[in-house]
Chain length 391, copies 2
């Protein structure tokens, strides 16, 4: 069978708030081949990723992503890998292509899983999916009191690990940051895992990061996430050497396999975080998971949106037993919570298991798509190149 159509649905909350909550919009991908349909999701900036699908060609190595996908044979995982290579080659100079490819790649895996009546992780070669310890992923409160309450709340919900990030953390007084971290630890209690996300706030400034280190060690923080931007390898390596028991985590910004493994080889991260909605989908994420396993680095998913993105982000390391944590967004918008007809949720023990249903094991809800749909029209040279399709 061949890929007959790929449709993009740009969904958004009625109001987009100026906070680090990535679940406020969604770019949903529907891919059809033969009698089958698969679904995927691209992370962030839906309009730009749509443009990368349909833009006119600039030259032989700068074609729209659609040029390497539509009409391609899709029968086996090797076809998906071949299409990945085609996109990278034909869209080499189209920067956004990797984000667009991400949703398309996920949809291809979902489709093959549905057709073969097996979960994606089995197509990836795993015989079994191990439950992951879901960490409650959320933003810092506006002050330490609110952070304390947020921590208490997720602990009472049964989570055994939690992450706090963004907000004002790292931008001002180190003392205020310390209060925030202490409040998080206090709210969680002694036992739960605590993770801190700096959201690239120090760009590559190791000294700034070091001033926050004592409180992280004191509060037994498992990892400091993204102290720096993804490519700042020297800063990562320098900080890692002084971090003691606190490990560094990073990688969500990587949009291809090589950027990710460079953070292992030269950035000395302890946790490799990959967002399948950005790196090019499940295909390169699986390759990074394998590399992490070989190098003794722990792979973790990065995700902050829907159950569809969550499932896609866990498949690449579902069968790697040693890699036990998984990100679980606990403050998602109504759009993100309602995108799929079923929501993936941790069990009473705080553990998340992938569904055993075919493909990603979740299906978008057409009602939700209709409710949050943002119509888009792109016309070039008088020709309509894109018009939001009918759900």
């Amino acid at each position: 069978m061949r890929i007959e159509s790929v449709d993009f649905f740009y969904l958004a909350m009625p109001e987009i708030r100026d906070i680090g909550d990535g679940s406020q919009d969604v770019l949903l991908v529907r891919l059809r081949a033969g009698d089958w349909t698969g679904w995927g999701e691209c992370e962030a900036a839906p309009l730009v990723s749509i443009a990368a699908w349909i833009c006119p060609k600039s030259h032989s190595a700068c074609k729209p992503v659609s040029a390497s996908v539509l009409g391609q044979q899709l029968e086996t995982p090797e076809d998906i890998r071949r299409i990945n290579r085609l996109v990278r080659e034909n869209s080499l100079d189209l920067l956004q292509a990797d984000h667009t490819l991400s949703g398309v790649d996920i949809a291809m895996w979902d489709l093959l899983g549905r057709r073969n009546e097996c979960p994606v992780y089995k197509l990836l070669g795993y015989s079994k999916s191990y439950p992951k310890l879901a960490y409650a992923s959320q933003l810092f409160g506006d002050d330490s009191q609110e952070t304390f309450q947020k921590a208490q709340r997720v602990r009472s919900l049964g989570y055994r690990a939690a992450k706090f990030g963004w907000g004002s953390f790292g931008k001002g007084d180190a003392e205020i940051d310390s209060e925030q971290v202490r409040a998080a630890r206090e709210g969680l209690g002694r036992e739960a895992d605590l993770l801190i996300d700096a959201g690239t706030v120090w760009e590559s400034d190791v000294v700034q990061a070091l001033t926050r280190l004592p409180v992280l060690e004191d509060c037994r923080v498992r990892w400091l996430e993204e102290p720096f931007v993804s490519g700042a390898l020297a800063a990562y390596r320098q900080l890692a050497a002084q971090c003691g028991r606190v490990k560094l985590a990073g990688g969500e910004g990587c949009h291809n396999f090589y950027q990710a493994i460079n953070m292992i080889d030269h950035g000395a991260v302890g946790y490799m975080q990959i967002d399948t909605g950005r790196i090019g989908g499940i295909t390169p994420a699986k390759a990074v998971a394998d590399y992490s396993e070989n190098q003794g680095v722990t792979f973790v998913n990065h995700t902050f949106t829907t159950s569809l993105a969550l499932s896609a982000s866990i498949q690449p390391y579902a069968g790697l037993r040693r890699h036990v944590l998984c990100e679980y967004p606990v403050e998602s918008t109504a759009l993100a919570r309602r995108l799929t007809t079923q929501m993936l949720e941790p069990d009473g023990n705080g553990e998340l298991s992938l569904p055993e249903d075919p493909g990603l094991g979740v299906t978008p809800d057409l009602e939700t798509i209709r409710e949050f749909l943002v119509p888009v029209e792109i016309t070039v040279n008088g020709r309509p190149l894109y018009q939001t399709p009918s759900p």
Copy 2:
């Protein structure tokens, strides 16, 4: 003064051919502040870079590039650096943002140069601009005979260095590649510098690259460019260790400062090639030039389009005497040749000097803009977010 408007003009040849010629379209940027106008250019995929300028916000770290530019104070080079940091921070998760920023950054430098009545390189801190040895940059011929003729032609035009790349090179029989390289050397004669561009054809396959090495050494090729994709640091390093007198060149795909310096620190490239139309403009390119100088690596511009892009790409290392080569496209389209009212050209000795006129020293031709303009309309939620402005 404050940035009042930024206009994007998507220009394209009537027909886009399926060859590696990046001069077939142009995304021209016009930036206005106070009574002044500056011009810039983004490399490749114009529609997608326009979308990154106007897309709706996804969250606090995924805003359109315009959010960090419009209304900003623009008086000094430090303002440009500040705006660069703002864009990187506010558009962290918008992949295409770096390409959009590139043209905007170039236009800001051009504007400040015009206002201060000095060339951009002086604003960058150089007291003098050294002439560069222009290498004639072109695609391989369809066969070795055509390559031979192309080499002879540029030699007869006075070029003392030439590069051949893309086409079928690296994709098939190593023997055919050898014939191509030998034909290039023969056509150029013994004295001229010969450079070969593999256009990332081997992705990260060192063995494939090694099979081409003997003919490169035999023909005294100065550099092998982009044997691999930009991030494949381990492959670059392994190949560099076995390359003998042939140096590796790369970096045109880097879209920020860190990716570029990683190719120096971990990829062992001998020549660092930066495209100001991709890396985020003149600001990060200057930082990479400084880093290259400190590390003993030779900086070279990457450019394949107009005189405007060419001038922008040379400013960052104009005052670095040791870095003598510069890329000069010799097969540009009519659009690229006619974009500016004056064309930068090498002198009879094959050397190119930057203009001493204010800013970039070149000005777009309104007639050309009108002739090649591609009208674009983007509508989201019934609201027109972008409409091609009047030149």
